[in-house]
């Protein structure tokens, strides 16, 4: 009598047969999802809709960190009656996913108090809602004023709109409106059906995470096509991913110094970041690692010249980075600006389903490298850095400590790599995907959990492609962290999270 309620799937492993995924009644779906998400060790990695034959199918993927599995629930609605009881009042982390489903398909989630647009995609249900008409929250009061910033900002950064409600200098509320960067990525994965086009596309989801996203894509294709790659290549991919983490963390340290006008720290870290990205360029000809990760093989297999260059640069840059951060994080003028500012409490982070660095600096162990290991991390134990205070200082220190870790990881991985047999396989572009399958791929990028999910049709074409950047979960964390802060502290709070606009907007 025991009816199966969900499917279990492991990251970066065999895909599921679509027919085997049980479709639940909404009452059951609702209860099950809620019951699962009550547990701290589980969080929602993606919850989204897929249109098919007049119906709308909802998939909810929940990561079970303690058992290293992903649990998949499904529900199907008739398009004539798109009303559901919202899960958000009971489980806040689902707010953004329900908003997305509402925006894309017009599902009314009864009881959702914040059913606002996510990104104004071109194929949204209601084209009459345009990005200029975003319904901002406001408060009527003689004492309060609003500050609007963006979409075009003062620096060279991506566009997004921030609307503050302030009492004097103090921020009472911040609303972040995104969508300006929407390029229709998920649909392009289907319409651009050539394998190389998809690789290029995956590298352009968020250019600062080219390696993370292109690895997530390649893994997904490999699991759907049943391609195995050598251990040597797996190690190379991990090294590339750690190089990306190093470059950004060092660059962010520079930016944080810049925001508190500490020029020495800014300039020194800037130069150090250059050495790392130039090493990536030495390896593959591109400072952001575009072109380095491909399904099934590599155009730039690691070799001894590259290894020696990496070791040389890590030695020098590593030493100099620790020297300068030792200085930065001992200065009262810096600490005074970072300490106790922009706090995201553990409770807030849990309820938002925060991921990656943002979760780890609020005391939560979430690191896909450890909890849902992929590539060579399956055989190699990563030691995630967990900090407790959830403030700008913690997010700054997290970067320093993760740089320490990544340098160690790269050293150790290179040693293991040297023992492995190299097979120098070229990328595979003429793959055949298993028909009617569902596959999921996760990668811990420098920001956090990247997730790509694909569904194939009965002739093995990609019928649906879902991309989730960690920023999707974490933007709301920034909005909460600046409450009751001085508005002048917004820039350092924002930098300390360093979230992706294009990753959210897709």
């Amino acid at each position: 009598m025991d009816q199966k309620l969900y499917m279990e799937i492991k990251n970066n492993s065999l895909p599921l047969d679509l027919k085997e995924i049980p479709v639940l009644k909404y009452e059951v779906f609702y209860d099950q999802v809620l019951a699962f998400l009550k547990d701290e060790g589980k969080h929602c990695i993606a919850y989204y809709g897929v249109e098919s034959a007049g119906n709308l199918k909802l998939y909810c993927c929940i990561a079970d960190d303690n058992n290293n599995i992903v649990v998949l629930f499904a529900h199907e609605l008739n398009k004539d009656h798109l009303v559901l009881k919202s899960l958000t009042p009971e489980c806040v982390q689902l707010h953004i996913f329900e908003r997305e489903i509402h925006e894309n398909f017009g599902v009314e989630f009864e009881g959702h108090t914040w059913l606002k647009p996510v990104r104004y995609p071109y194929n949204r249900k209601n084209r009459s809602e345009i990005i200029n008409s975003y319904p901002f929250y406001n408060i009527e009061s003689e004492e309060l004023h609003e500050v609007g910033v963006g979409p075009v900002h003062a620096g060279i950064i991506e566009p997004g709109h921030f609307r503050f409600i302030c009492n004097g200098e103090k921020v009472l509320h911040l609303e972040i409106q995104l969508g300006y960067q929407h390029r229709g990525i998920e649909e392009l994965f289907i319409t651009k059906c050539n394998a190389l086009q998809r690789c290029i596309l995956s590298e352009s989801i968020a250019g600062d995470t080219s390696i993370g996203h292109s690895l997530a894509h390649s893994q997904l294709i490999e699991s759907l096509a049943g391609i195995q790659v050598s251990e040597a290549l797996q190690i190379e991919r991990c090294i590339a991913l750690e190089m990306e983490r190093l470059a950004i963390h060092i660059g962010d340290t520079s930016a944080l110094c810049g925001d508190v006008a500490y020029q020495l720290g800014q300039v020194v870290c800037e130069a150090l970041r250059t050495t790392i990205i130039n090493t990536t360029q030495f390896w593959c000809g591109n400072r952001f690692g575009k072109g380095l990760i491909r399904p099934g093989g590599s155009n730039y297999p690691l070799n001894n010249d590259v290894v020696n260059e990496i070791l040389r640069v890590l030695d020098d840059t590593g030493r100099r980075f620790f020297e300068v951060t030792d200085l930065i994080y001992s200065l009262p003028s810096v600490l005074g600006r970072f300490d106790d500012i922009g706090i995201l409490t553990r409770q807030q982070a849990l309820s938002l389903g925060a991921v990656g660095m943002t979760a780890r600096t609020s005391g939560i162990l979430r690191d896909i490298r450890k909890t849902h290991p992929f590539q060579y991390y399956k055989n190699y134990l990563v030691r995630p850095v967990i900090l407790e205070t959830g403030d700008v200082l913690a997010r700054g220190m997290e970067r320093v400590l993760e740089v320490h870790e990544s340098v160690k990881i790269i050293h150790e991985l290179i040693e293991i790599w040297q023992q492995k047999i190299k097979d120098f396989r070229k990328p595979v572009y003429d793959y055949n995907l298993k028909p009617d399958n569902f596959a999921i791929s996760m990668v811990e990028g420098w920001r956090g959990e990247i997730c790509h999910i694909a569904i194939t049709d009965n002739s093995g074409n990609i019928a649906h492609y879902k991309v989730k950047d960690p920023s999707m979960h974490n933007w709301m964390a920034l909005a909460l962290a600046v409450r009751n802060q001085e508005i002048s502290d917004f820039p350092i709070c924002n930098k300390s999270f360093n979230l992706s606009y294009c990753g959210n907007d897709l």
Partner: protein, 251 residues
């Protein structure tokens, strides 16, 4: 105090002395060279394989304004197509970005087509406003890098400024998403005339891999005169720097 001195000593001198002749790593993918004896069949193969239709199926020329520099054509035909590490590939004329088989010539600006007021007004100081319109943040980071301690483009009085009111021109990255089309217009209109437009990166020049996406609105590009095209995915800081120096006539 001692810590500072130690840090400064390790830091040493980081700036690139000659921005015109900075060597880059051997694998850097810059200007392509296509062999003059590439055959019809070979052209067919690579133009079919190219993810962005940057290779003309008839002539075999490569349009760097479309190319995403994936190098896949060169992996297919290593004897016929190679990518040099020449990063000086910006031009003020769109056609100059099209590299024909047999050509080894560097990419140049057409001096006659540079608007007269540009050099007269901006040669000793040029302030630019950057707008990302669907950019993936890699071109944006490379533009930030032009002003960093290594490249220090500020040495020529060339800088990015916060307000369009303070700017002499606009630098656009990204394929121009529909949702950014209006903010881009507003920003451009807020810049006092005369002003210049620079397209930075392949996505901005042609839409790149996003070409054809219904989420774009590229009317701005069609309606305005472009003063400089800077190819790359993302553009290299040196490509941008050299392009702007050539535009302004800085030696």
């Amino acid at each position: 105090m001692f810590k500072e001195i130690k840090v400064l000593k390790s830091h040493g001198i980081q700036y690139v002395k000659n921005l015109r002749m900075q060597p880059v790593s051997a694998l850097f993918r810059g200007r392509p060279v296509i062999s003059g004896d590439i055959t019809k069949d070979e052209i067919k193969t690579v133009s079919f394989a190219c993810p962005v239709m940057a290779i003309d199926g008839k002539s075999g020329s490569i349009d760097m304004g479309r190319c995403v520099f994936c190098k896949e054509c060169s992996f297919l035909l290593p004897d016929k197509i190679r990518f040099t590490n020449d990063y000086r590939i910006s031009s003020n004329v769109r056609e100059a970005l099209i590299i024909k088989p047999g050509s080894e010539n560097p990419v140049q600006l057409d001096e006659n087509r540079i608007r007269k007021e540009i050099r007269r007004l901006f040669k000793s100081a040029l302030k630019l406003r950057q707008v990302s319109a669907g950019g993936d943040n890699s071109c944006e980071m490379e533009l930030v890098a032009t002003g960093n301690v290594n490249f220090d483009f500020g040495r020529y009085g060339i800088e990015f400024v916060a307000s369009p009111r303070h700017a002499d021109g606009i630098v656009i990255t990204g394929p121009i998403s529909e949702n950014m089309a209006e903010p881009l217009d507003i920003t451009y209109n807020a810049i006092p005339s005369p002003k210049i437009i620079i397209l930075a990166g392949t996505d901005a020049i042609s839409g790149g891999i996003f070409d054809g996406s219904p989420a774009l609105d590229r009317r701005f590009i069609e309606q305005n005169h472009i003063d400089l095209f800077v190819p790359g995915n993302p553009l290299n800081p040196l490509t941008f720097i050299n392009g702007v120096m050539d535009l302004l006539g800085i030696k």
